[in-house]
Symmetry: C2
Subunit: 360 residues, 2 copies
């Protein structure tokens, strides 16, 4: 079959890691008789440099007209980024937020997995790691503080800034269902995270998630306060299967969880709407300081491509094969610099991509 993929190289290390993921997809296509049409879309710094804005309406339309989007990375928030001095609404990040909202990508899946071969890179002690852990953060991605009304006003010479956090029950229900659906295919456990002892939006969250939970009697289910969850991720990450939470809490907790695994260069993500369409990108950032140096780890992007095959195209066998190839390459001792440890063979971005292609 033919699949149309919008490709967003992005900025920083984005272009070089996306290139490796494309290599892998092309190999999969040849092997299984699929064809992938790639259409490039500019987002972030790359779009700023050409169009003066981080995302054009045309780019949104192009993305929408494809079957899925594969993305590298974008970012302007490190001082080494060339777009650091721009006002926030013109930075690369603003383009990504706009794209998520325009495409209604409300369900953000972020796996946080400790790779057996990378136990040494995990910052936690062995007795906490145990047999390893494998959780899925289900983050709401198009509501809450990220898309609330905001303003900054001056009154009597004093500046005041406002942001608002809003959720309605439909927004909560659809993400909660996604969370429970995913849990049914995994460990059948959902931890819903909120701050219900303070926020009205969290109280509504809890109420609606309670209702949804009733439809999934097989799933064991608990509430956890966000501050406690931030502790539990460090204390005992093994306890989690699916963490279901709102946008800002999900941003913070998913980054914490990814670092807890020590495998951050390995972690993919998917952002889905209510069709089969989705945007797939690595969980890590755009690392402008190492851009273009052929040292970045392409595995998270390659695994994001595998998620795309699985979630948008229902090509499970193909996705399995990519994931297995990644594991084999790790087992064979090859590592990019970020996950290097004693006795392993250091390779660059391109070589890592080629090794995975060869293993397929």
């Amino acid at each position: 079959m033919n699949y149309k993929i919008a490709v967003i190289p992005g900025d920083g290390i984005g272009p070089e890691i996306v290139k490796e993921a494309k290599k892998v997809l092309i190999e999969i296509g040849e092997k299984f008789g699929h064809s992938f049409d790639f259409t490039e879309v500019l987002l972030g710094g790359a779009s700023i440099d050409v169009h003066g804005v981080p995302l054009t309406d045309e780019a949104i339309t192009t993305a929408r007209n494809n079957d899925a989007v594969l993305m590298g990375s974008i970012g302007g928030n490190t001082a080494t980024s060339p777009w650091y001095k721009l006002p926030p609404e013109k930075r690369p990040e603003a383009g990504l937020l706009k794209l998520r909202k325009s495409l209604n990508l409300f369900a953000n899946l972020r796996p946080a997995v400790l790779y057996n071969e990378l136990k040494g890179a995990c910052p936690l002690k062995d007795e906490i790691i145990g047999d390893g852990f494998d959780m899925m953060i289900m983050r709401e991605l198009t509501g809450g503080l990220y898309f609330g009304e905001r303003k900054t006003v001056e009154e009597d010479g004093v500046m005041t800034a406002y942001d608002s956090l809003t959720y309605n029950e439909n927004e909560i229900r659809r993400i909660a269902k996604r969370g429970f659906d995913i849990a049914m295919k995994r460990g059948k456990k959902v931890t819903s995270v909120d701050k219900a002892n303070v926020l009205d939006s969290s109280r509504l969250w809890r109420k609606v998630v309670d209702e949804v939970a009733k439809e999934y009697p097989e799933v064991s289910y608990e509430h956890m306060l966000v501050d406690n969850c931030a502790m539990q991720l460090v204390k005992d990450p093994k306890q989690f299967d699916v963490i279901l939470t709102e946008n800002m809490f999900g941003d913070i907790l998913s980054d914490e969880a990814s670092m807890v695994t020590g495998s951050i260069g390995m972690l993919a993500s998917a952002s889905l709407n209510d069709t089969k369409f989705g945007l797939y990108e690595p969980s890590h950032g755009s690392a402008p300081d190492i851009a273009g140096m052929d040292v970045a780890n392409p595995i998270a992007t390659i695994l994001s491509a595998a998620m795309m095959l699985r979630y948008s195209f229902d090509l499970d066998k193909e996705a399995d094969l990519i994931e297995a190839a990644v594991k084999e390459v790790l087992k064979a001792g090859y590592r990019t610099g970020d996950i290097l440890s004693e006795g392993k063979t250091k390779v660059g971005t391109k070589e890592m991509g080629t090794l995975i292609v060869d293993m397929i």
Copy 2:
């Protein structure tokens, strides 16, 4: 001199841990010729049981008429808590939030220290721990989402909940100054944490903190996004000296940081207004499941009493002595259950208090 202390035992393990802190204060009083008058104030579950509300106006007045407040702990959010079924605005937590706001306790200092003797309890690997770490989280405590307007409304049969996040420049300036002042007495480094790529309130935060930073040329100073900070606390906690942040981010990050130390039963906190007045309480919760069993660790509360001597009463020598006594008792091998490791002597709440008193 005579010092008037309002004592809030609270609920859960609160009463028994506060009792040990009082024992220590009495000993310090005898040794240095101070007298401490203790006036008990009800807050949280203890107040609900007597007055039907988590905090009475009379209790606020009593607290205000003392020189400082020493608190145990409160909490109703665990399912084992007897107040779990109450609506949120009637729960123990609501009383604490009201007290913080009424007493204008905007500056929340939360030390996150790895005790040398407790390295074994730290969840992080030895190469990350290195020589240990010692940071101070300076959390804004009376603004932001915690005290914004909120409402839940039904429109066309759909429930929507709103919370608002507001900061004005004066609120930001006063907490930023506190942060830099503390940094001057410590490692002279401030990491200001926000989400300026998304929130207007964070952009104002950054602007005002930039202004304040100019008044402290000796302090090295950086911005960090909250999601990145959640990662860095796990990856390399040694990099931090003072973390300066707003209320909700401070809630999440301070809990994460305390767990990262592995010494959570040891961590004190102070909540200050712009006078010498302050409220001192352990960073940990009320652990209703072990309440009244004489197993809770009283050290965080005892160290909170030491902070009170230091910050509210300027009794540095006395505070030093308490802190030294705690270290000696640890060195001598005594541990409560939460920090127990092989070869150490297990003691209960009361015995731990007595050991520290004896060491003074």
